[in-house]
């Protein structure tokens, strides 16, 4: 049974979908890395809109804050600080061989999605159609994320923080080692 969606919903879905796809295409075809990065931000924004339409407002907000915000800013900083923004440097990465390889990988991923879409899922993975609405009525959106995060995945969550601590410590140890041992 296909659920019924209002016309506005369908219109908005296609609108953001087209924006996301078009921005993604522009992103990979731009010559300048800065312009490409800005198109990627555009893609992130429209993906965030799609998340909100799927009743995942929290994920949508996170998408904007983390991906479109923090990560892209860091990315642009790196590009500008290291002065990588010369189009000529990128030309080497845009040869026919690379394009062909990228196209093949894209086709591979596409066929994978099609194969998986045809595979029968285990029954326990299939949730009832109105599962999201049911959950939303019980909890608010943040609760839906927080509940599994701090109950089922508590240990994984805490371990991730230790992992980040190790990564930061390691980066500091190596970075300082370079300063002390530089010749």
């Amino acid at each position: 049974m296909e659920p019924h969606y209002s016309l506005v919903y369908v219109f908005l879905f296609y609108l953001f979908g087209v924006i996301a796809l078009a921005s993604a295409l522009t992103f990979v075809t731009r010559k300048s890395p800065v312009a490409a990065a800005l198109w990627l931000v555009n893609t992130m924004f429209s993906l965030a809109a799609l998340y909100v339409m799927l009743d995942a407002q929290f994920v949508g907000v996170m998408q904007v804050l983390v991906y479109a915000g923090a990560i892209m800013v860091v990315f642009l900083f790196v590009v500008m600080l290291l002065n990588l923004g010369h189009p000529s440097e990128l030309a080497a990465a845009r040869g026919t061989g690379w394009k062909l390889a990228a196209g093949l990988i894209g086709l591979g991923l596409l066929s994978e999605i099609m194969v998986i879409a045809r595979t029968k899922l285990p029954e326990q993975l299939i949730v009832p159609r109105d599962f999201n609405e049911q959950q939303l009525q019980k909890l608010n959106v943040v609760g839906m994320i927080a509940e599994p995060l701090f109950k089922d995945y508590l240990l994984a969550f805490e371990l991730t923080s230790v992992l980040l601590l190790v990564a930061i410590t390691g980066a500091v140890v190596l970075g300082r080692g370079r300063a002390a041992g530089a010749r």
Partner: protein, 501 residues
């Protein structure tokens, strides 16, 4: 007492020793950042780290002694975990002791290096406990990221930097395999918990699901990289050669042990019903690893590279225990792991003791006539080589370790006669390089230009003698160790064995 892992408080108690180590390591991290970087401070952090290791060993022993169990959850509470933990902690203790002297000689001053070692060990302890694919992934990353940094600790040397980059890139590459495998296994079974995976495979009859089989194959490739099994071993010699020697010892002993521990638990708890499927793949992996490791080791003239290939060969022997696929195999595995860890630590401690600043004397020929100048170290090295070879009496527990693997292979439900033959033949081949080292030390004359090695630091000598003593004493009285390892099997596989009986 049984822990109910769905309750956060009881989950915390079930993780007691792991949290003790992590928390202590974080306090030590603060302490090491408190003072200006110096050799004295590095040593004080190192000694405190060793104290923390001993405390954690006591905690693990206490948990094992109380015989705690747990409901099915993200982690397991069983003797397999405690036995593996003790082995990791022994390896860490030895590594830190060696590092104290090594860091002084090489001018490595950050005290954080010891803390990173402790945090890496906590990742291994998580791995030994993990009963959920997500925890497996996080444990592997926690362990590996700290090691990537430690390999590159001695950045002034080109080879150390090269080793670090190689290890990092290939480590990330293998993690991708592992992660993809985890995703496919989850996709096929709808579960990340080992026990749930097994029951879902049975109840949805997924034995021939392509998604699941590809997932298992990718997991095997990922773990193959981590334990350096042929044909995924190419990174090991370069990385082992480039890394600071104590870290090489740690990688050869503890990192390998942890990857094997989680591989055993995953295979015995999640995929026991698929044994007919993965059996063939693991069989070839074991055979190939034994053959490649031993044959290539014959050609090595650098002692660190020689031990790297020897460790690849030992990964093959341990895989034989996995092919067996029963509790007999897993207790033989635990015994082997103990013997191998102690012998490897000892051998690398001798290398640290004989090394010079800059580590330019790693050729086996440098050890010519060692008997005439440093008889103690020469005898100890001979013991370690014979233990790795599996020689009776003088090789101590090394002999029994190989014996139990052979016994497990022959007593298995499907006797692995051909694999046992390969194991024995390859052990004979390995005599070619282990005995070569012994021969060089005792029978070749010392060249007149050779420099007398400096007297090694006290901590390094302590590691050498403690390892040699453990090997020889347990070699004479192996029974206590055998009964311990016989009880150290994954809890769930025991139930499976009983039910199928």
């Amino acid at each position: 007492m049984q822990f109910d892992l769905s309750m956060p408080a009881q989950l915390t108690s079930a993780l007691g020793p792991d949290l003790l180590l992590m928390g202590g390591a974080m306090i030590l991290l603060l302490w090491s950042g408190w003072r200006r970087e110096s050799d004295e401070h590095q040593r004080s952090v190192g000694v405190l780290s060793m104290v923390l290791c001993v405390l954690t060993m006591v905690a693990v022993g206490y948990y094992a002694y109380r015989g705690y169990t747990a409901t099915n959850g993200v982690i397991a509470v069983d003797n397999f975990r405690w036995a593996a933990d003790e082995i990791f902690l022994i390896a860490t203790l030895g590594t830190i002791a060696m590092s104290l002297d090594y860091n002084r000689r090489e001018g490595i001053t950050p005290g954080e290096s010891h803390v990173l070692l402790l945090l890496s060990t906590s990742g291994m302890m998580i791995l030994a406990a993990a009963r959920d694919l997500i925890i497996v992934f996080l444990g592997i990353e926690l362990m590996s990221i700290a090691i990537y940094v430690l390999v590159g600790l001695n950045r002034r040397r080109e080879r150390s930097a090269e080793g670090a980059i190689k290890y990092f890139l290939l480590g990330a590459f293998s993690t991708a395999f592992l992660l993809y495998g985890i995703a496919l296994v989850y996709g096929a079974t709808g579960a990340t918990n080992f026990v749930a995976i097994r029951s879902n495979i049975i109840s949805y009859s997924l034995e021939h699901s392509g998604l699941l089989l590809v997932g298992i194959a990718l997991l095997l490739v990922g773990f193959g990289f981590k334990v350096a099994a042929a044909p995924f071993h190419m990174w090991a010699p370069d990385v082992y050669e480039g890394a600071p020697t104590p870290i090489t010892a740690y990688m050869a002993a503890a990192v390998k042990a942890a990857s094997f521990a989680v591989l055993f638990r995953l295979w015995l708890e999640a995929f026991p019903t698929l044994i007919s499927t993965w059996h063939e793949a693991v069989w070839w992996l074991a055979a190939l690893t034994m053959i490649v490791g031993n044959l290539v080791a014959l050609a090595q003239r650098n002692i660190k590279r020689l031990l790297a290939y020897s460790s690849i060969a030992h990964a093959g022997y341990i895989l034989v225990a996995l092919v067996v696929g029963t509790n007999l195999g897993s207790s033989a595995f635990m015994f082997y792991l103990f013997a191998y860890t102690v012998a490897t630590l000892g051998a690398f401690a001798v290398i640290v003791a004989l090394g010079r600043a800059g580590e330019d004397n790693m050729g086996v020929e440098e050890y010519a006539g060692l008997w005439s100048v440093r008889p103690g170290l020469a005898v100890a090295m001979a013991v370690f080589m014979l233990a790795l070879l599996g020689f009776p009496i003088f090789g101590g527990i090394g002999f029994f370790a190989k014996w139990y693997i052979l016994e497990a292979a022959l007593k298995a439900p499907f006797p692995q006669t051909r694999l046992a033959v390969i194991l024995v033949v390859m052990s004979v081949v390995s005599a070619g390089y282990y005995l070569y080292v012994v021969m060089v030390m005792f029978m070749k004359p010392r060249s007149s230009t050779a420099i007398l090695p400096e007297r090694a630091g006290g901590w390094t000598r302590a590691v050498v003698w403690a390892s040699a003593a453990i090997i020889l004493i347990f070699g004479l009285f192996p029974d206590a160790l055998v009964s311990l390892t016989q009880r150290s099997t994954p809890a769930v596989s025991k139930e499976v064995a009983q039910r199928s009986r």
